[in-house]
Symmetry: C2
Subunit: 112 residues, 2 copies
DNA sequence: CGGTATCCTGGACGATACTG
DNA sequence: CAGTATCGTCCAGGATACCG
């Protein structure tokens, strides 16, 4: 492993982590990695969030360029969310994180 | 609320992220990946943290099993911190996150 | 359906001083 | 040197109600 980073570069990992470290972002990310989903559809899968917060997290993922929001005209409104290319490139990395976690976290785990 | 791991398989990524998502943990992790360091040595490298908080972050990394604390007897006291095996296995994954960030975050980057 | 608008609370983080 | 001990601030996240 190399350690030739400079002051700013050291934080690249941190910057990346910030993009996905909202309370519900990993789960959102997980669901969206199967494909596009409507807002309510996503909400049903993650029932413990308030709509407000789910929205906030989505907006943040959106402005981080990881998620794209698409509006279809008509009534009732139809809005879908999906991973961008940039977001999709993150998936295999998160998958490795997941594998690591599975290897090291056994038994009972704390959720909140 | 406690759940068995099976119930939150989806969240393994989240669990992993929680372990390293303290404000200073990625940077601590970065520094320790070069080898063991004494407390003050580490503190000098990360001057914007208070000792209290640096301690907190180290304790959390420690109880997550990512970092090991070693005390040498004598005065003045000498305490070193280093990555555990489990922690070291995380390094290549964080390195890929870093690579991803470097590819996608251009220009000036926010440090805080 | 897919949002806003308010109001509130816990806890992460910080500043500072003291100690074995 | 490597910590505790206090006290204070800020804001992410939550509860709830309303809207086009």
């Amino acid at each position: 492993m190399r350690h030739t980073y400079r002051e700013v570069e050291q934080c690249a990992t941190k910057v990346a982590l910030n993009l996905i470290s909202g309370k519900w972002k990993p789960i959102i990310f997980f669901h969206l990695s199967s494909g596009a989903m409507r807002f309510t559809e996503l909400w049903r899968e993650i029932p413990r969030v308030s709509k407000k917060v789910l929205l906030e997290q989505l907006r943040q993922l959106e402005s981080a360029g990881l998620v794209e929001r698409t509006v279809q005209n008509g009534f009732p409104p139809e809005v879908t969310y999906q991973l961008t290319h940039k977001g999709a490139e993150l998936a295999p990395i998160l998958y490795r994180l997941d594998q690591w976690a599975m290897r090291h976290i056994e038994g009972v785990v704390q959720i909140s």
